[in-house]
């Protein structure tokens, strides 16, 4: 790495990796990033009724999981939702 590389923008290798990750989400599930965004917003709306969540830290993605039914891997929607606090429903 040259001395001047320190001030450069993101490396193209990282750009490639990020693009691929997004691409594969839609490829694997036959589900476009637009749809994922809609799902994400709906999840935020539902969870927000009961909890205060960190919407920036929320991460949903299509992953692979083992299935008991046909002893293979199936796609799964996994969501990682950081909870900040519970809403106190009684004082609403």
């Amino acid at each position: 790495m040259g001395l001047f590389d320190l001030f450069k923008k993101k490396n193209s290798g990282d750009v490639a990796k990020d693009r691929l990750k997004l691409l594969l989400v839609s490829d694997r599930a036959n589900c476009s990033p637009d749809v994922m965004e809609l799902i994400k917003n709906d999840i935020i709306n539902v969870i927000s009724k009961y909890m205060i969540i960190d919407t920036d830290g929320l991460d949903i993605q299509i992953t692979q999981t083992e299935s008991d039914s046909n002893n293979g891997m199936v796609p799964a929607l996994s969501a990682n939702i950081p909870i900040k606090d519970m809403k106190n429903r009684s004082t609403k």
């Binding site: 790495m1 040259g2 001395l3 001047f4 590389d5 450069k8 490396n11 193209s12 290798g13 990282d14 490639a16 990796k17 693009r19 691929l20 990750k21 691409l23 594969l24 490829d27 694997r28 692979q64 293979g72 891997m73």
Partner: protein
């Protein structure tokens, strides 16, 4: 116990044929009885990479259609005692053979050979289906590029759906100098994205071009890619071989020059 391995990638031009030739030759060098089958009907090339193009009499389609016996179509590689090639047909197309016919052919070959290596055509159509029909395991070849990895991911899904028992990854044409600069995805990046077992990485090595020019597979030579392919062969046989240092020899002076190089 024989094992049938399909070499596949989805995308074309990532090194399926070169990998097939080197893995087949390497396994033969390790005293296994090997037959290489070129399943790319209409665009055969494994014969050229192996340097056996002048010895073709019969081909895969001839065998399947019953124009000749299997033994007549197999070309014996005179450089190695246990290595044979079943060439593909050049003037036919992929529909000349069905997956059922491939399965039957492979089952007959299982009785003769320890390893049957199938060089798969690019794409996911009939040619791919023919190539994977009789396979026990797969080697998925990719390069550290977005397009090749995307196709590899699709292929891995299709192999799973077709109940191929084991799928391993070969990352081809990696350039450690570019990885170090951050301008190429690293082995870890690729494995992380595809999440299958890495069986080997082959550096981008000009010796591969030279060996293809000469029709003599590089495996087992002192060239870095030759060593990498031999390691892959040993891992196929179940040996534990640590990953090769692919960075090559870089001297103190070249590192110093790199430090002061402008963009």
């Amino acid at each position: 116990m024989s094992e049938v391995i399909v070499v596949t990638s989805g995308k074309g031009g990532v090194g399926k044929t070169t990998t097939s030739a080197n893995v087949g030759t390497g396994l033969a060098k390790l005293n296994k009885k090997v037959v290489l089958i070129d399943t790319d009907i209409g665009l055969r090339n494994l014969d050229v990479v192996m340097g056996l193009e002048n010895r073709i009499v019969y081909n895969l389609v001839d065998v399947v259609e019953g124009n000749c016996r299997i033994k007549q179509a197999l070309i014996k590689d005179k450089r190695y005692p246990n290595l044979y090639l079943l060439p593909s047909a050049q003037t036919r197309d992929k529909t000349s053979v069905t997956p059922e016919q491939m399965k039957k052919l492979i089952d007959e070959l299982r009785e003769e050979f320890d390893y049957i290596i199938l060089d798969c055509p690019a794409g996911i159509e009939q040619g791919f289906k023919n190539a994977i029909a009789g396979a026990d395991r797969a080697l998925v070849v990719t390069t550290p590029e977005v397009s090749a990895i995307r196709d590899a991911d699709r292929i891995i899904g299709l192999l799973e759906a077709n109940e191929i028992k084991r799928t391993d990854l070969i990352v081809n044409r990696i350039r450690m100098d570019m990885v170090k600069k951050g301008d190429m995805m690293s082995l870890d990046d690729v494995v992380d994205i595809l999440s299958i077992n890495l069986i080997g990485a082959v550096p981008d090595d000009e010796n591969i071009v030279i060996s293809t020019n000469n029709g003599e597979p590089l495996v087992g030579s002192d060239a870095l890619a030759g060593k990498a392919y031999m390691n892959i062969c040993k891992r196929i046989l179940g040996e534990e071989v640590p990953l090769l240092d692919l960075s090559g020899k870089s001297s103190f002076w070249s590192k110093l020059a790199g430090l002061f190089k402008k963009n």
